[in-house]
Symmetry: C2
DNA sequence: CGCCCCTTTGTTAGCGCTAACATCGCGCGT
DNA sequence: ACGCGCGATGTTAGCGCTAACAAAGGGGCG
């Protein structure tokens, strides 16, 4: 008889072997009763279920993951939590993953550090996720190499991607920006400013789209094309609008790359008595819930964020289940929401 | 020679054994070089680090978790993602956990189903988290029993708790509500309404606090004490204020159990030309970023959400490291933010 | 009646790592 | 010269589960 100390275990929890012993079968039968009930006779299945209940058995996904090479976790990499846009995406993702029994591991890349996504990915790979959801399709070479060498299925969210091998669920930020620009033009605006903050690739692409629309109409003015590196906020929107009106009094319309900035602009115009849209029309991006409630309700581009999250997660789990599946792309589009501001 | 198929493994990744073979040492030495570098000679340590790099070795936390009974994950149970308040808490939690190398597993309990938290906890226990962060201290008996039987350390967030064994980081919702009530009274208001939506225990407690303040001042009127089961939103705030003004024209002040409702009320008053605070004073709760930007800036109670998340996570990891530690409570308080609305 | 196939259960051997104990060699004090 | 302590490395076993193969029993069919 050894006197060797028993080694640490997860709080000496009830194991599958305990349940098996209790019922008088082998562990694999318990395993099957839980995972593939149809392969176990009904009588046994009932006795096993009863024993699990009675003993308070909670299966260990850690052991299961090691044995089956399926961790039942999905890593989700997003740039920020402070941006409600990504929260909506997460809500959609969780809806799908909860239903399918996956857990979500979340990683925040930030906007500034170009190497952050790779470091984060490496950290997440330690947890052996069954798949990865990425924001945008502008990943670095290092990130793509890691994904490939670890053979982790991935799906990109919130933008489109020209590369046919890329799995993505999103919409064209370029087209959405262009639609916003054309709407301002259709409103008779000729001196249109473009305001972008937090220069992530998707904001840049929608500004590109808006710019293209202005160029096409022959009224693009680089002096009205503002790029701010700071994080987007209501306060920044107010500040930048004040500067814009002071320096470019002829400006008669603004495309803001997101709604927060537009909210700040609207509040500031309200305080200053600047008539929106008569004097200055404006259009935002994403249609946040407050956009229907600003002093002048905000015309904006609605993006189906929760649907994108939901479908990206669904697509990813399908890809995990069938590695031979050909690449899929889902374009969920966008919708111009016409309110009073433009 | 067996022809048995090799079993599934995590995409045939490089293992610790591969690194050990490459360097010409045993696996345990590699393990030590990574986890407790000071126990391995410097020469070996360098060669091991070099081999890890060259082979692209990423340690498997799944195997590590099984062997060491430490999963390096923390489960966080919150009621909702749509409520920005909890996002702020999550931001704080992630700040701490990222620094300490933990991963976060997130569970959403919702507001309605009383059994949801227990089911969710059970699901999370399958992943063998090293600790659990819970919202509030009103858990069901079943939840407390599960936590006890699995011996998972936990810390409660966002409220205080009278029970001395309970570890918590938060503030007194009751006191915060009372402070809001007293502020309205100090503004000379005598016909004060209390409006609560999404009746979670913390909202209820802050309304209790406000009510106590009104009772103490001898001006509590049950007809002005509104409890709405619906989810809180800007639209609901507008709607309920319209009803309140119509039915109770004498009402001169309102305590809203959160800022969203107050925003809706302010927008509605702006549209209707109702003077805030002259005709109707109002005070919100949580100090969301938009509260400084409403038509009339909102007086509200600031809650240190990110700090609570950060410190709750820190406390939890300390409790994990030292199971003998006595229960800790951190009261981060709250702060009345005086703006124009009251 | 024997054969085959299908359903149901079991045996064996890991998945990749780490706890616990074992061992080895070196410097030091006496 | 000897033993002791200590730092550095190794051996063994096992965490709790599941893949792969094995086997037993029953039923259908020529």
């Amino acid at each position: 008889m050894q006197l060797r100390k028993t080694r640490a275990s997860f709080s000496s929890r009830t194991t599958m072997a305990d349940v098996a012993r209790d019922v008088g079968v082998s562990a694999i039968t318990v395993s099957r009763a839980l995972r593939t009930p149809e392969t176990v006779s009904e009588a046994l299945r009932t006795r096993i279920a009863e024993a699990c209940d009675r003993l308070g058995y909670v299966p260990s996904r850690v052991a299961s993951a090691l044995a089956s090479a399926r961790s039942m976790t999905i890593s989700v990499l997003i740039p920020s939590l402070s941006n409600i846009v990504f929260i909506d995406v997460i809500v959609g993702i969780k809806e799908t993953l909860d239903r399918l029994g996956y857990q979500m591991l979340m990683g925040i890349t930030g906007y500034d550090d170009p190497g952050a996504e790779e470091r984060l990915l490496r950290r997440h790979l330690e947890f052996a996720p069954d798949g990865i959801l990425l924001t945008g399709a502008d990943q670095s070479e290092a990130v793509r190499a890691l994904l490939k060498s670890f053979a982790v299925p991935s799906v990109h969210m919130m933008d489109d991607c020209a590369w046919p091998e890329c799995w993505w669920v999103g919409f064209s930020n370029f087209d959405a920006g262009a639609a916003a620009g054309r709407h301002l033009l259709a409103n008779g605006r000729r001196r249109v400013a473009i305001v972008a903050a937090q220069l992530d690739p998707r904001s840049v692409r929608r500004c590109d789209g808006c710019r293209a629309a202005l160029v096409e109409a022959g009224c693009y003015d680089p002096a009205l094309d503002l790029r701010l590196p700071q994080p987007s906020s209501i306060a920044l929107g107010a500040e930048v609008t004040a500067g814009l009106v002071a320096r470019n009094p002829e400006c008669d319309g603004v495309f803001f790359c997101n709604d927060d900035l537009a909210h700040g602009a609207l509040f500031w115009c309200g305080q200053q008595g600047i008539a929106v849209p008569q004097r200055l029309a404006m259009i935002g991006f994403h249609d946040l819930s407050a956009s229907a409630w600003t002093p002048t309700p905000l015309t904006t581009v609605e993006t189906p964020r929760a649907r994108i999250g939901r479908d990206a997660a669904l697509l990813l789990t399908r890809r995990i289940a069938d590695p031979a599946m050909p690449p899929q792309h889902i374009d969920h589009g966008f919708q111009l929401i016409r309110r009073a501001s433009a």
